[in-house]
């Protein structure tokens, strides 16, 4: 057992766990943050996607020992019902989920994509999202929702821009 401290959704957290234990199961079974889902355990399906220092990673293949000192964001930290992330707002507007099980991972991958590429093309979306499986077949809605999230994000940035300038 090891004591591991990391940042989880903006808050410092310390857990006692075997260092090889995947982050996925630390989140789900020790910290009871069940929004991150198990789908394959082999980094093949993307259901367990979280951000580590802003990068999308498969938490099922990320040992908790690696996470020490890093910053983890899960779907619970992406946004809240009162303050949804642009990706979540777009997902809501377009009613993307069907069964919904893969959608935490889908949104985390989409949010990471938009953070580094604010105006992705269809090809960019395909490349960034092809590691996230949806068996309900929501891909067409996901693609549309990412384009919509990009618009929402751009509008939010435009709204912030004068304030930024004002500060200068």
């Amino acid at each position: 057992m090891a004591t591991i401290t990391f940042t989880l959704n903006g808050q410092p957290r310390t857990v006692e766990a075997e260092p090889q234990m995947p982050l996925l199961w630390v989140l789900r079974d020790i910290l009871n943050l069940t929004g991150t889902k198990y789908g394959c355990g082999m980094a093949l399906c993307g259901a367990c996607t979280v951000h580590i220092d802003g990068n999308p990673v498969r938490s099922c293949r990320t040992e908790i020992g690696f996470v020490a000192g890093r910053s983890v964001t899960t779907v619970e930290g992406l946004g809240t019902p009162d303050a949804l992330h642009p990706v979540q707002r777009a997902w809501l507007e377009l009613d993307v989920p069907q069964c919904g099980y893969c959608q935490s991972g889908q949104q985390m991958s989409a949010a990471a994509l938009l953070a580094r590429n604010p105006k992705p093309t269809d090809a960019d979306i395909d490349a960034a999202m092809r590691n996230n499986i949806c068996r309900c077949g929501t891909y067409q809605s996901i693609r549309a929702a990412i384009h919509r999230a990009a618009e929402i994000q751009a509008l939010a940035m435009d709204a912030m821009a004068p304030a930024e300038e004002g500060r200068v």
Partner: protein
């Protein structure tokens, strides 16, 4: 809920349903989230003094949109405030459909259509009666809107909550008039889903998410060969793994319980189990195909026989005889199977994302050896069903493990367990023959199916094993179909669209072959033969027009078509594909559906898209194969799903229907996609793929075809056009 309230629930349910309303389980459902009193109008509706209206949802939500669609049915007639309408999953009870309470067969909306609208209308009449009594007027002097009863010709009104206490005491009306379609406010309008917010914020609760004090996370090692058993085992290394709590033997194998799922999985790897593999240790896919070929030599149970088939073949100008086949398929729902169980002195409580809570309940009762009243089933969101979460072993396994350990457990199938211990869509092999007349029209069809059965045989026949083939709508004068059951220990199950998932491929691809043989256009042939099936004919016409069937496709792309009536709806699909070095790319699917009254066009569209993706995945690469009695696939690397970069554009068009009642939508679009793609591949390459999956068999067929072509060139023959 107080005893008096429970009695009232039973009484009201009894009067509403007339079939008895036993609510099964020692834990009665919570009345209201804040503990305030709510009034039950019937088994489906509660109204609280704070104006909250609650639908008791008797169909599980596996993504098909049951939550939203059933709320719409109730609200349409109740005239309640849509924003204040809440819902909760129903307990298991006869009034909700027990023993088969659940969602299956694309029946959710069809079987809720009448009862839920009536439940809403009856509650509304009771509220109107209560208001009429207060005002001392006839009920005709009242009207309802958005959760209030208004007095006609005045500004007086009461909210439903204000009237609930009085209204709930009134007699339940025997009959009520329901709205006509021109009065609908909700039905037929694309309506946002009520489960989206929970599903995008990570708060939707699935079976895998069930947590409780002292819960143990469990995985179960089962024999890799179907029907095998544990001979002996050594768990000493497992028990030494940090986090492992217990190792127990149950009917199907050895369970490892731990403080977290990872420790249970890792601990299981350390088990040393000697298996008694049983009689299936040499079973293989090739052996099964040999058995099927042998069975097809024998006659079977007659599924359909009409016209003089023998004479038609004797007089045929042309005959076509081919063999088609499909492999076993797993379901691979994104949420693997799981079930949580807690036993205490009162009984057994089960939590599961189950398609059929009724079967979950019956399985738990049998496994626990308890009375029905001692078992309570809690229905949770389902992370994908597709037919897999009806019956199954997971309920029994979880109860057995909880009984041995005495702890609450949540049993999870790993993805490997899910793929290797699923109950599969059966493989099937069919011989198909057709007779064509001198003009090239089919005049007789003969088929024989060799397949395991999905369900118990009746007079030697499983209707599902021939569904989509023997019940085709084509006016081909003489038709004869037989079914020869294949007896194996490979567990089988329903799989999205069940028998139609394979038979529509056989039927619609074979029909394409007949079009080619008879020199007919595939759409023209179908329209000609669908003269007695006007609704299917119409969707085919519309699909052909929308897809530009009679105009050239983009260079390099080729079209294919297929259509079918199933689950009470009618669907036609036209696809555009390109084939590059044996690799099939589906660019576009035009999907036209007549599903009667579309209750929520938004979820109809979603289900059409989803059904196509599910069927396309299987058509392209879905195959479960057996060797040495073992399933050879194990995870998404060798049993992959369609991914976003392969996603075709799907154009769904919902035909305004003359049928005022809804048809099924959950499975309607799955059957036609495989034949439409295979037919398009034929248009692209001249190669007919009679065995799925495409990605496995097409390259071989293309290579053979090229060899034949080069042979033809070398020997001076004509090149196949």
């Amino acid at each position: 809920m107080s005893a008096a309230q429970l009695k009232r629930r039973e009484f009201l349910a009894l009067s509403a349903a007339g079939t008895g309303a036993l609510v099964l389980g020692h834990h009665v459902p919570a009345t209201a989230q804040d503990g305030s009193e709510t009034l039950e109008f019937n088994p489906f509706v509660r109204i609280a003094p704070d104006d909250t209206v609650t639908l008791i949802l008797h169909k599980p939500e596996n993504g098909q949109g049951a939550v939203t669609t059933l709320c719409m049915l109730l609200a349409e007639e109740l005239d309640c405030d849509w924003q204040r309408l809440q819902w909760e999953f129903a307990p298991v009870a006869r009034v909700y459909g027990f023993p088969l309470q659940g969602t299956f067969g694309s029946l959710g909306v069809r079987t809720s259509w009448q009862p839920l609208r009536e439940a809403g209308a009856k509650a509304r009449v009771m509220l109107q009666s209560a208001a009429a009594q207060r005002w001392g007027v006839d009920i005709a002097q009242t009207r309802t809107e958005n959760g209030r009863v208004h007095r006609v010709g005045s500004t007086d009104s009461f909210s439903y909550g204000e009237l609930a206490l009085e209204a709930a005491q009134l007699p339940v009306p025997e009959t009520v008039a329901l709205k006509s379609p021109d009065q609908y406010r909700l039905i037929g309008k694309p309506t946002p889903r009520r489960d989206t917010l929970a599903k995008i914020t990570g708060t939707a609760r699935y079976g895998i998410d069930v947590r409780m004090p002292d819960i143990a996370f469990a995985v179960l090692e089962r024999c890799p060969v179907f029907g095998g058993r544990v001979a002996s085992f050594d768990d000493s290394r497992t028990r030494a793994f940090p986090g492992v709590i217990d190792v127990v033997q149950v009917g199907r194998g050895i369970a490892v319980l731990a403080t977290n799922t990872w420790a249970a999985m890792e601990g299981r790897k350390l088990l040393d189990i000697q298996w008694d593999l049983g009689p299936n240790a040499s079973l293989s896919s090739e052996r099964i195909r040999e058995m099927q070929r042998e069975l097809l030599q024998h006659s079977g149970a007659v599924a359909r026989s009409e016209g003089d088939v023998e004479a038609a073949f004797a007089n045929a100008a042309q005959k076509v005889a081919v063999t088609y086949e499909v492999p076993y398929l797993a379901h691979t729902t994104m949420e693997p199977p799981n079930t949580a169980v807690r036993l205490d002195e009162q009984g057994c409580e089960v939590w599961s994302g189950t398609q059929i809570p009724g079967i979950c309940h019956s399985s738990a009762v049998a496994a626990a050896g308890l009375e029905a009243e001692q078992v309570k089933v809690n229905t949770l969101f389902i992370g994908g069903g597709f037919g897999s979460r009806g019956g199954g072993n997971v309920y029994t396994e979880a109860v057995e493990i909880a009984m041995v350990t005495g702890r609450p457990v949540n049993l999870l199938y790993t993805r490997e367990d899910d793929i290797q211990q699923d109950r599969y869509r059966p493989c099937s092999m069919v011989n198909l023959e057709a007779a064509l007349d001198a003009e090239g029209w089919p005049v007789a069809l003969r088929g024989r199916v060799s397949c395991q059965y999905f369900q118990a045989l009746q007079n030697g026949l499983d209707r599902e094993a021939v569904a989509g083939l023997a019940d085709n709508d084509y006016a081909i004068g003489a038709q004869h179909f037989e079914y020869v059951p294949l007896e194996l220990d490979v567990p089988t199950n329903f799989w999205r669209s069940v028998g139609a998932s394979q038979n529509v491929y056989f039927m619609e691809s074979f029909l394409d072959e007949l079009a080619a043989a008879g020199g007919k256009d595939p759409v023209e042939l179908r329209l000609h033969l669908l003269r007695d099936a006007p609704r299917l004919r119409r969707v085919l016409e519309i699909a052909a027009e929308r897809a530009g069937w009679n105009t050239p496709a983009v260079p390099g792309r080729h079209r294919g078509v297929a259509c079918v009536s199933c689950f009470g709806s009618h669907n036609a699909q036209v696809v555009e594909v390109s084939v590059d070095q044996g690799r099939v790319r589906v660019h576009k699917v035009t999907c036209v559906v007549d599903c009667g009254q579309a209750v929520n066009p938004l979820t109809v569209r979603q289900q059409m898209e989803g059904g196509i993706v599910y069927g396309l995945t299987a058509a392209l690469r879905g195959e479960i194969s057996l060797a040495d009695g073992r399933v050879q696939q194990s995870n998404f690397h060798d049993y992959d799903a369609l991914r976003i970069d392969e996603m075709p554009e799907i154009d769904v068009f919902i035909v305004p229907s003359e049928d005022p009642n809804p048809g099924g939508i959950g499975e309607t679009s799955t059957p036609a996609i495989a034949p439409a793609v295979v037919n398009a591949v034929f248009a692209a390459t001249g190669v007919r793929v009679r065995r799925l999956p495409l990605e496995k068999h097409l390259p071989t067929l293309l290579a053979e075809s090229q060899q034949q072509d080069s042979h033809a060139i070398n020997s001076g023959g004509t090149i196949h056009a």
